[in-house]
Amino acid sequence: MRKDKIDLDEFEKEDMNGVSPMERREFLKIGLAITGIFAGGTLLSAVSTMSRVFASADEYAEKYPYKPHYSMVMRQDRCIDCERCMEACIVTNDVPDYGYRTTILQKDSPDAIGQKREFIPVLCNQCNNPPCVRACPTKATYKDKKNGIVMMEYKKCIGCKTCVVACPYNARYFNEEKHAIDKCNFCVDTRLSKGEKLTACAAACPAGVRIFGDLSDTGSEVYRLIHQIERPVWVMRPEVGAKPNVFYMKG
């Protein structure tokens, strides 16, 4: 196959000038449809969602008076599925190979223009209204009053798996070694209580996907990202009403 020698100067530029308005509209539609699904149909920032229920950020802090109020923001567009977060979690928290505390899902969009693949990390969302805590018969799982992390008291777990069914985010699994249900606890026992500032997964991510921090600290990165309305911020499955503390955004 004979190829003419290409002149670099005349090489087609891949910037926005070459994209027709129709194409742009189509792409936006796909983007809106996709993010629309993520946000349950509405494209809102987390803070504007919160502002529908709470009069102000202060009121929100009153209702959920955790200090520190541990949260995570996932900058989903940066995830490249290197899986260093998963490996770090497994090593730090002794996660067995048949289960996981955090994992990465892959979504393929063959009709997308340009990038056709995205990676979505998921883990326990440490909800403010956790369905698992409500459903536990022995209070083996409870929401820590100080930092808002949904904790496990392994010795009380009877293994009825109601919490596993109740969880909207498939965050829990039965751990044979502990003989109880296990899930992500933001590395509170393995890292945070030992003076570390970040969870293992947040520390291991080379691309800055997982921003972990204190939502009650108005100067923290998580607070800044959630309270900007320029780029949409959403949560998974808001319709369940679990009020998760893990937020997702792109850009």
Partner: protein, 211 residues
């Protein structure tokens, strides 16, 4: 007289020029630069497709293999600076993927990064070529008037698939190609790639003919 000399010069120039072009054809012809390059460092994985860049986008070898990337595969990831910061500064892929020539390297991350899942899926379809062993591994060509030339299959098989060489340029049977240096200088056999641009020139005798 001057006109004749000028005509001969022009014709020689044109002939050599087209001969060079023929070699350019041979370079891109069938070989396609060496298939998929699977980078697993620093992160797993980025699968670079020569087919996409050479055949579909129409790039030629020297656009990248002119100092940006070594011709031998996977040399870039051995270097300590094969990371996104280098790309943003215009090194490696960033030389073109700067937002002007091609999409910027700080956008569309998952377009190149297939992740561990993509790597596993790719490896399922294209298992790692097991090192060729036995008499086929290294081939020693005895030559008249010079030391024997040693060809390492394992070294080449890391970068290329079997068809890259054996579809068109070499017979599968050892000694079945009946190779001569003149043919190589003309761009056949080893000279298909070893022309000084894609790989070291075939005129560099000591590189292969060890005494």
């Amino acid at each position: 007289m001057k006109k004749t000399v000028l005509t001969i010069l022009i014709m020689t120039f044109v002939t050599v020029f087209f001969a060079e072009n023929k070699n350019i054809d041979a370079r891109t012809d069938g070989v396609s630069g060496g298939g998929d390059i699977v980078y697993t460092k620093p992160v797993k994985a980025v699968i670079f497709s020569h087919k996409l860049h050479v055949e579909e986008r129409g790039l030629s070898c020297d656009m990248c293999h002119n100092g940006l990337f070594e011709p031998a595969a996977l040399k870039a990831q051995e270097k300590g600076d094969f990371n996104m910061d280098s790309l943003y500064k215009g090194k490696y892929c960033g030389a073109c993927h700067d937002g002007k020539m091609a999409f910027a390297s700080n956008t569309q991350c998952a377009r190149c990064h297939t992740g561990v899942k993509g790597y596993n899926a790719y490896r399922k379809m294209n298992p790692v070529k097991s090192p060729i062993s036995g008499p086929k591994a290294d081939i020693v060509y005895t030559s008249k008037g010079i030391g024997p030339a040693k060809f390492s299959h394992n070294f080449h098989a890391k970068a290329f698939g079997c068809n890259d060489c054996h579809a068109k340029h070499f017979a599968m049977k050892k000694g079945g190609s009946n190779m001569k240096m003149d043919a190589m200088y003309g761009g056949k056999f080893c000279g298909t790639c070893h022309n000084g641009s894609t790989a070291s020139a075939v005129t560099d005798c000591a590189k292969c003919h060890k005494t």
